[in-house]
């Protein structure tokens, strides 16, 4: 038999592995360059001689940026917790269930992932222009003194709008993650727990949830990171008012619009730092929790 006719030749195996490696390495290098370019820009294009003139220090010296950092940390953490609070019961409820319309339901759950961010913001804005959000709260809550106060006034273009906009998108990612997590858990474990004396809730809380812990941590991290990067829905639904609804993503936008590219890059670097920090802390903490 000729060498050409041999099945599974060594050369084709090697070239296949090289192709896989090349794609992986190119993508990794691209991501690292993407992140590193911000740092490179600041080091090469900035005119600063001492650390105090460093654009990051300068950015941190501004009160509005410090407030933006604080608001970002608070809202991202709240949104991540809200997302998890929605995703855990939904992921568990939908686990392994097949019923007519399941594909449609999955498609509906993915809407916040596929919709353009500005459309999500606009949709939220429109939704809150309808009752019950426009009804006077005094009608339902006797302790509200102001007869004109509505939920719309308390939420739209206020801090709660930031959290709602972030949660709307982040929860879709958390649900997708946790649906997969719960589906991977052996259903027998839960059944055994039921035979050992557990109620449905006990089997869920004592057996299923601890087994889903790595997925919950991943979903929380993903939600937090998504919330930090959210911009479009925030701009439309919460606005970009300094010292009020400004978060780090809107800071980058605001600094860019006033021509302060250095400031925008500095804030971008802070966002990268925060994202990496949250990623590392949750991964390490997750591993520690699991090994205990």
């Amino acid at each position: 038999m000729s060498k050409k006719g041999q099945l599974g030749s060594c050369w084709s195996d090697r070239s296949f592995k090289v192709c896989l490696f090349a794609v992986t390495a190119t993508y990794l290098i691209f991501i690292l360059l993407l992140v590193g370019s911000n740092l490179l820009y600041m080091v090469t294009d900035s005119e600063w001689s001492s650390w105090r003139e460093n654009p990051i220090f300068k950015a941190l010296a501004q009160e509005e940026i410090r407030n933006s950092i604080i608001l970002s940390l608070i809202t991202c953490t709240l949104s991540a917790f809200f997302s998890i609070a929605i995703a855990i019961p939904m992921g568990y409820f939908l686990k392994g269930k097949q019923f007519p319309g399941r594909a449609l339901l999955d498609a509906i759950l993915d809407i916040p992932i596929v919709l353009p961010p500005l459309v999500i913001g606009l949709s939220l804005l429109i939704l809150f222009q309808f009752p019950p959000f426009t009804l006077a709260l005094a009608n339902f809550l006797p302790f509200v003194d102001d007869p004109t106060l509505t939920a719309n006034a308390l939420i739209v273009y206020q801090v709660p709008a930031v959290v709602i906009a972030q949660t709307t998108v982040a929860s879709a990612f958390a649900i997708a993650t946790l649906k997969g997590t719960f589906e991977q858990i052996d259903p027998r474990c839960e059944q055994v727990a039921l035979t050992l004396g557990c109620s449905r809730f006990q089997a869920f809380s004592r057996v299923v949830l601890p087994e889903a812990a790595p997925g919950v941590i991943t979903a929380w991290t993903l939600s937090w990171a998504r919330s930090l990067g959210e911009f479009g829905p925030l701009l439309i639904f919460a606005g970009a008012t300094r010292n009020k609804t400004e978060v780090l993503s809107t800071t980058v936008f605001l600094e860019m619009t006033i021509g302060n590219l250095e400031g925008a890059v500095a804030v971008s670097l802070l966002m990268i730092l925060l994202s990496v920090l949250v990623l590392v802390v949750t991964r390490v903490w997750g591993k520690l929790e699991l090994s205990l």
Binding site: D186, R188, C189, Q191, V192, A193, L194, T195, L196, G197, C198, S199, Q202, R206, V207, P210, E211, A213, L290
Partner: protein, 218 residues
Amino acid sequence: MIEFSNISLDQGNFSLHQVSFKIEKGQYAVLMGETGCGKTSLLEVLAGLKEVTSGTILLNGSDMTHARPAARGLGYVPQEGSLFASMTVSDNMAFALDVRKWKKEDQKARVQELSSMLGIEHLLNRSILGLSGGERQRVALGRALAFRPEVLLLDEPLSAVDENTRQSLCQLLKSIQKETGVTVLHVTHSPWEAEELGDVILRLHAGKIDKQEKVKGN
């Protein structure tokens, strides 16, 4: 002790029709049948994990047909053990006791007693990850026996272990049953296991229990 009267179950791809059998208190019953004939489903029906279409299940004379799994008080060991990966061996074994709010010292004493009977004292503080097939089955047995159930349901407990482990686990199952007097329903493909262990052999074929016979010498 266990009485199935005209139990029917429709699962779409297979069904059980009017299955009836009886297992006396303290007997070791072995349920055999071809792959996919519904042996595991029968066990799940008894454990309360699947709802029957019709028929009655009596446990100790009480109608348990629609009772929750927790109310039936049966120890259940699935095929692969299905141990709780987030817990240690000791926590797995004490699980049913913790759910029943036993005192910690009583839980510890019961786990010690069982682990000594099962020969797994040295594993108590270990995570279940990394346990061998035989060790996993011993832990699963300990977990199911911890709350002293009157009935033990075993779903092919020896199918995923090597020959030596199979023989030693077989001896262990025999001695446990003798020591505790627990009524056992053991699902298997293996005629050897049936001969070794069974007081009664039930054969499930085409959705019905065909034969119920006593084996001599056990």
